[in-house]
């Protein structure tokens, strides 16, 4: 019996440590395979130079710009929208509808990304082409709009959670003083819930940055540095998916490891930022 | 330590993180007696109980200073040593909580659970011991036809007696009771009190309670905890 339990406990430990080490191993593996690229030009050129394989330039700068602009734009669109939905669920909706909307939001998390992309390709893209952006309809704005829908459930669920965590007694105090739900929200709940809101915002940004399918299907995948929302762009994730077909040994192929490393580091920084936000205490009133 | 002394502490201090909960506690608890501990809530009564069945080792951040011993089956056990295994000790030092805590399983399986934990697999023996434990707590006649029912469907008083039966099934030498009646109504409390007096025959009971009349009715010896110190009344 003691031998059995000792073995089991050791297995638990191994599972935890093993998974953690594998996480680190991913990073090392990416670095190892991307090494020829770093030797070729150094980190600075890699991050800042344009993508022009014909002239031996394998910089991922255009993809970084593409990823960041699509991610930030989608968060910019999704944030007020998600906040509005969260307010509906916690404060303004009729009681019968609040629960229904929350369940709808939960259901949205189960819709596969590729389905969002598929529908957008045949519904949103023609619309954008005809009425808003012209061109092919495949551009930053289209991708950001759809990505905004995709990341909304994540944000809404986090927002609702942090809004509801404000103690009931504080909320009742405002009600007892004759405050409207909106006043309660603005003067008591929001000031107390903002670390949670920020948390949801950062998580949404992470999801937007890490998404592959939406940008691959909707953003047009052009390798030039975009200068307007209505232009096509290629994200880091889409770049990885698109270049896979190329020859293993080519520099072109190795650039995807640079993309992988960039995304990995971005995630790690984001998680650390989330941890720091978690330490923030809500402001006193 | 006298042969009639069951539990003995000398200069015992209990720290929770940096906070000192108990300070320099030196007490002697006699065999087959009811010792009551009273005091304001949050004064460290429950912490003292957690020393006696070594549950303090399960709470992160707790450490002890001083001496505490318990005599089980004629042998002395050191309660302050974190490294000693706690399971055997806990089978001989039962505990009943303020809120009845039946496990989410049937009445029968609740009482049989400690036997299962100690590795007993003889079904007939288990059935016999379950019945005898339920009889000792005067619960048998009430539940003998409901043994397969979820234990949480019983009334509060019945649940508490079930929890006592569950502790008794291993025939413990010491029973720790942490305000066992404060979640119950008057009639149920009276039933539990009678039961405790009967158990005194073969058990050492340590009762935490802040009902002074209850303490007066039951206890052979009373300690009061105040500001982390324990004084005999």
């Amino acid at each position: 019996m003691p031998i059995l339990s000792r073995t089991l406990e050791r297995l638990f430990f191994l599972a935890a440590i093993g998974s953690a080490l594998l996480t680190a191993a991913i990073f090392l593996l990416l670095c190892q395979l991307g090494k020829p690229l770093f030797q070729h030009g150094g980190l600075g050129t890699l991050l800042c130079s344009p993508w022009n394989p014909g002239h031996g330039q394998y910089g991922i700068y255009p993809m970084i710009v593409g990823s960041l602009s699509i991610a930030f734009l989608s968060v910019l669109i999704s944030f007020p929208f998600s906040l509005g939905c969260a307010f509906f669920i916690t404060h303004f909706g009729p009681l019968a509808l609040r629960r229904k909307l929350l369940n709808l939001v939960r259901f949205m998390t189960s819709i596969p990304t590729v389905v969002y992309g598929f529908v957008a390709l045949f519904l949103l893209v023609p619309f954008m082409r005809e009425y808003l952006t012209g061109g092919s309809g495949l551009n930053i704005l289209t991708a950001s709009l759809m990505l905004a829908v995709l990341i909304a459930p994540t944000m809404i669920i986090f927002f609702v959670d942090s809004l509801q965590r404000v103690p009931l007694s504080y909320r009742q105090a405002v009600d007892a003083l004759g405050g409207s739900p909106a006043q309660q929200l603005l003067y008591v709940v929001l000031p107390m819930a903002w670390p949670g809101i920020l948390n949801g915002l950062l998580l949404g940004l992470g999801r937007a940055m890490g998404d592959t399918l939406i940008s691959l299907m909707l953003a047009g995948n052009a390798v030039a540095v975009p200068t307007a929302m209505t232009q096509a762009a290629r994200t880091l994730t889409a770049h990885i998916a698109l270049v896979m077909a190329a020859d293993f040994a080519s520099m072109e192929f190795q650039s995807i490891f640079a993309c992988g490393i960039f995304l990995y580091l971005f995630t790690a920084l984001l998680i650390v930022a989330l941890r720091l936000v978690g330490r923030l205490s809500p402001r006193g009133l | 330590m006298q042969p009639t002394t069951k539990i003995h502490t000398n200069g015992l201090s209990f720290y929770y993180g940096k906070m000192q909960v108990l300070q320099d506690v030196s007490v002697e608890l006699q065999d087959r007696r009811i010792t009551a501990i009273t005091g304001p809530s949050g004064s460290g009564k429950s912490s003292f109980l957690s020393v006696l069945n070594r549950m303090w080792t399960e709470i992160p951040g707790v450490h002890l200073q001083g001496e505490a011993h318990i005599r089980l089956g004629g042998q002395l056990h050191d309660l302050c040593d974190k490294r000693q295994p706690a399971q055997h000790l806990r089978r001989k030092v039962g505990m009943v909580f303020q809120t009845p805590n039946p496990l989410p399983m049937s009445i029968y399986r609740n009482v049989a659970f400690p036997l299962k934990l100690s590795g007993c697999s003889d079904r007939q023996q288990i059935a016999a011991q379950v019945e005898s434990a339920l009889r000792r707590t005067l619960l048998w006649d009430e539940v003998k036809d409901l043994l397969k029912k979820d234990a949480r469907q019983l009334s509060g008083g019945q649940q508490q007696r079930l929890c006592i039966a569950r502790s008794l099934v291993l025939e413990p030498e010491v029973l720790l009771l942490d305000e066992p009646t404060s979640a119950l109504d008057v009639a149920a409390s009276a039933g539990i009190e009678d039961l405790l007096l009967a158990l005194k025959q073969d058990c050492t009971l340590v009762l935490v309670s802040h009902y002074l009349d209850q303490v007066k009715r039951l206890a052979d010896k009373v300690y009061r905890v105040d500001n982390g110190r324990m004084v005999q009344l």
Partner: protein, 292 residues
């Protein structure tokens, strides 16, 4: 300013809620409109007899069956790889880890959970390259590689859901068995885990859903547009989400496009069923399993 905001806020909030509902309704309506006509006996099996296809006696060439089969096989493989490790690691995190090591480990798992799935797929692919180089074996992209990468993708979810499930046990219940002389392991396996079985199952089902919907990982690790039903784990395979993606750009006629719609509906049905199942598990399973 504040007063104006307080006036406008409820209206704005209603608009957002309506827009969200409209978006989901449009999505579902559009899919159904495009794909329902394709829902017939031929959708899954094409010209092949259903019984022949199910018994793997004959390959299906113009139906969704190989893609469905590939998805199911891949998910089962990935989840059976990930669940033991994930649950064990979760138990370690909740019951054994403490102090700085717990902080560090949970930071690492959070990072792992946040890594974009395409990067996980890329590392799966990189692993195949390294193995290829060092052993000269023929482990190219295949079903097994996809399953390994997917298992890694859902691992942090399983760890986290197990950990939070265990940590959510009421302290009184947590200590009950211990006071009755249970060892730590007995307490974990006889009280804590059974008590949280519903949450655990819910977490596992959600992990299944995550595996089933993922496209980015598998497109780097072995999925192809047409491979038929694979006869070994070391073969390339088809999968529903990839089929949807592929059809969206490579369809050759309205009939194929309609199949793309149908595949999207099928995938959505599978994922939402899993989701509902997880939802119900968290409510019902406990009473069903524990109070026999």
């Amino acid at each position: 300013m504040g007063r104006l905001l307080a006036r406008l806020l409820p209206g704005f909030s209603w608009c957002c809620a309506l827009a969200l509902t409209a978006a989901v309704a449009t999505l579902v309506w559009f899919l159904l409109r495009g794909g329902l006509p394709a829902f017939n006996a031929d959708l899954l099996f094409g010209g092949t007899r259903a019984i022949d296809a199910l018994l793997l006696r004959r390959q299906v060439f113009d139906g969704l069956f190989p893609a469905l089969f590939g998805t199911v096989a891949m998910v089962l493989l990935a989840v059976s790889l990930a669940v033991p490790v994930g649950v064990a690691a979760g138990i370690y995190m909740a019951e054994y880890a403490g102090g700085w090591s717990k902080h560090l480990l949970s930071l690492v798992f959070d990072v792992l959970a946040g890594i974009p799935s395409i990067v996980i797929g890329l590392s799966g692919f990189a692993l195949a390259i390294v193995l290829h180089r060092s052993f000269d074996g023929r482990l190219g992209p295949c079903l097994l590689l996809s399953a390994l990468a997917l298992a890694f993708l859902v691992l942090p979810y399983l760890v986290r859901s197990t950990q939070t499930a265990l940590e959510g046990v009421d302290p009184l219940l947590r200590h009950t068995a211990l006071t009755l002389g249970a060892s730590k392991l007995q307490n974990i396996f006889l009280v804590l885990l059974p008590n949280r079985l519903a949450d655990l199952t819910g977490g596992i089902i959600l992990a299944v859903g995550r595996c089933a919907e993922d496209t980015a990982v598998i497109m780097l690790t072995g999925v192809v547009a047409s491979a038929g039903v694979p006869d070994s784990m070391l073969r390339q395979y088809e999968a529903l989400p990839f089929y949807v993606y592929y059809m969206s750009s490579q369809y050759t006629g309205p009939e194929e496009l309609q199949k793309g719609y149908a595949a999207a509906i099928l995938l959505m049905i599978i994922c939402s069923l899993l989701f509902v199942l997880a939802f119900m598990a968290q409510r019902r399973l406990k009473s069903w399993l524990l109070y026999r």
